[in-house]
Every structure is written in C-alpha cells, then in structure tokens.
C-alpha cells in the first residue's frame, strides 16, 4: 500500500516506521525537515518537506497515486483541510485524520471523514487505568467520575 503521512512528529513518525517495517511504501510530509530525525535510522520510505494542506506539496508527495492518506499534525484545521483535499479532490481511497477537538471530530465524522480522536482515546485509557488501580487497591466504587481531556499528546 502506498501511504502518505502528513506530520512527522512522535505519532506520525511512529506510524511511518511501523508501516515501513511491514513493507508498505511510505512517504512522510512535514513542514520542518528537523522532524524527520524522529524516524528510525533504517527507515526506507520517502521524506518530503512541505505543507500537507498545500495542493502542490501533496502532488509532490505522490497523492495522485496514493492508496492512503493520514494526517497526524497537532493542528486540527490543517489536518481536516488536508484530509478533505485527499478525499474529495485527489480521490484517495483511504483517508484518516486526527482531530483533537471532540466537537469538530464528531462533525467531520458526520461529514464522512474517518477521524481519530486522540483526546477521547487518551481520556478513556486514563480512566480505565484509574479504575484498574482503584480495584487493585481493593475497592472504592465509583470514585472516578471523568478523566480530563486535553490537547497534549
């Protein structure tokens, strides 16, 4: 599978390394060349400096031949703009985007984008971990009301 990953931070680079190790054809796109240092030394994919929300950068990364596009930057707006371009303009068959703000995440999901919410996933994991700790300590029930979501990650 030919995959373009927008954003080479911790999440983008980890995903890129995983897919590359499994034999996929991976291209990572980041506005900052220094971000590519997150990639492992044996990374066999392509690194391109450019903005994923820019039509020409996407073309340069080979979007017209891509089987999949994933946007992973910290900026929700950049992510959803790039994802919509990949889906509606370049007709990439598989498009996935991170959206940190749960309200925007829900909206773009209802508009047909496949979204992943790091905020909700982390909040749920934290809550589960807390509950597990609590039951390991033998028991208060219902001590944890909710876990706080944030934009970190």
């Amino acid at each position: 599978m030919r995959v373009i990953i927008m954003g080479c931070g911790r999440r983008g680079s980890t995903l890129a390394a995983m897919l590359d190790a499994e034999g996929h054809d991976v291209t990572v796109l980041d506005v900052d060349a220094a971000a590519f240092s997150f990639l492992p030394d044996d990374f066999g994919g392509t690194e391109i400096v450019g903005n994923g929300a820019d039509e020409d950068s996407l073309r340069c990364a080979g979007i017209e031949q891509a089987d999949a596009f994933v946007s992973t930057t910290r900026g929700d707006n950049r992510n959803v703009m790039a994802a919509q371009m990949a889906k509606h303009i370049f007709n990439v068959p598989r498009v996935i985007t991170l959206v940190h703000d749960p309200i925007r995440e829900e909206m773009y999901r209802s508009l047909g984008l496949r979204t992943v919410s790091p905020t909700l996933i982390v909040a749920h994991s934290l809550k589960e971990a807390l509950l597990a700790e609590e039951s390991a300590l033998g028991g208060g029930v219902g001590g944890v009301e909710a876990a706080e979501g944030g934009n970190g990650g």
């Binding site: 929300a53 707006n77 959803v80 703009m81 371009m85 703000d101 925007r104 209802s110």
Partner: protein, 226 residues
C-alpha cells in the same frame, strides 16, 4: 443581521466598523488579547476573546442565531474550518471565507464554501489592472451555478464607449449591475445608460464567460508595448 467575524485584523476591523454603521449586529472573535482590547476601545464591546475555530467558542458567540459568518484570519485552513463548522454544526445560512493563497480558491469551492474572497488575488488583480491588458478584477465568486462578480474599468479606446447598455452584446448569463463613473458616482444602469471612458462597470457573469465579457466591454487585449 447578526454577523460574526472571525479574525480581528485590519480587514475584520474595518469591515466591522462598516457593518456597525449599517446598523448590523456584529461580533468579532479574536484570539489575540491585545488586538481584542484595541478593537473594544475603538468600536465598543463587540469583541470576544477566543479561538474562533473552537466549536465551544462559536457556541458562546451565539453562532447558532447568526445570519452570517465571515472568516478573515490569515490562515486558509482556519477560515475553511470556521465556515464548515458554522455551516454544518450551527446551520448558519451564509458563510464567507477569506482566501490568502489564491491556489486554494478552487479547493474551497470544491469543499462547499458558499463564497470566497481571495485577498491576495484581489490585490494582484488591482495591480494587474494598471497593466494594459488586464482590465478586469474578479470581486467575488458565488458558489451556486459558477457565477462571479467582476469589475471592469473601461479604457478610452473600448468599443463600448458612448454606447447605451442595451446595444452591448454581452455573453450569455452576463449582466451589467452597476456603473461607477470616474467622478465616483454609482449609477444603476438602464438600457439607455451610456458607458463612458473611465467608468468602472460591475457585472455578474459565468466563470467561463469571463474572457468573452472582457472582450465585449474592452475589446481584444492589445499586445503589450514592452
């Protein structure tokens, strides 16, 4: 009308001032505290401090009851999202996005934004108009039906100078809507209104009739003298 402007830069500020003069209810959402304070000092309490891309901020701004949302920030992706959230989450009837990078104009249209204004494009077009072969300025593109509003400055050697509007053969679906004379007076044209050299003609046209309209009003472009 209740109009929400996201982005309190120069354009947002002057637009808000104009809209207030026209008796509209206006709210500017600006995330820079200093800018917000400055606007409040000049225009009164019509500013809300916050990130206008956050749905929660929009909720507080009363996006749900607004008649129009105008996104004027310097980042195209922010303007796109403001308009999409306003439209799909809050059912705002009219959304307008400023486009900074002219490349994005086509993309915004394909992604369903009602109306776009390419600030860079408008400035470029105004400068280009000073060059002999570019007398037409696109003012605004309307999504429905591929229509656009353009402004054409009539040079002294144009074939339409001295002619009444009814005698000008315009391309299909094109309409002259306003004529601004060189004295700055705007006139609503009738069939008998004569076009003068130096007039600025505002017309509605189809996107793909732009060139035909230009030729009808100013003649074939002359070769550049340099």
């Amino acid at each position: 009308m209740y109009i929400i402007i996201v982005g309190g830069g120069k354009i947002g500020y002057f637009l808000a001032r104009q809209l207030l003069e026209d008796q509209h209810e206006v709210l500017i959402v600006e995330q820079n505290a200093e800018k917000a304070a400055q606007i409040a000092e000049d225009l009164g309490e019509i500013v809300m401090l916050g990130d206008g891309c956050e749905a929660a901020t929009m909720e507080r701004a009363g996006m749900g009851r607004s008649d129009m949302a105008i996104a004027l920030t310097g980042d195209d992706e922010d303007n796109l999202v403001v308009c999409q959230v306003a439209k799909h989450k809050f059912n705002v009837p009219h959304t307008i996005a400023r486009i900074n990078n002219p490349k994005n104009e086509r993309i915004f249209k394909m992604l369903g934004i009602d109306a776009t204004i390419s600030s860079t494009g408008v400035i470029l077009a105004h400068i280009e108009q000073e060059l002999p072969s570019h007398p037409m300025i696109p003012l605004m593109t309307l999504k429905g039906g591929g229509l656009e509003i353009v402004e054409v400055k009539i040079p002294p050697d144009a074939p339409v100078v001295g002619k009444p509007v009814k005698d000008i053969l315009l391309p299909q679906k094109s309409l002259i809507t306003l004529i601004v004379g060189s004295d700055g007076q705007a006139r609503l044209p009738t069939g008998d209104t004569q076009i003068q050299a130096g007039d600025e003609v505002v017309a509605v046209t189809m996107l793909d009739s732009e060139d035909a309209l230009r030729s009808a009003l100013v003649g074939e472009p002359a070769p550049r003298p340099y």
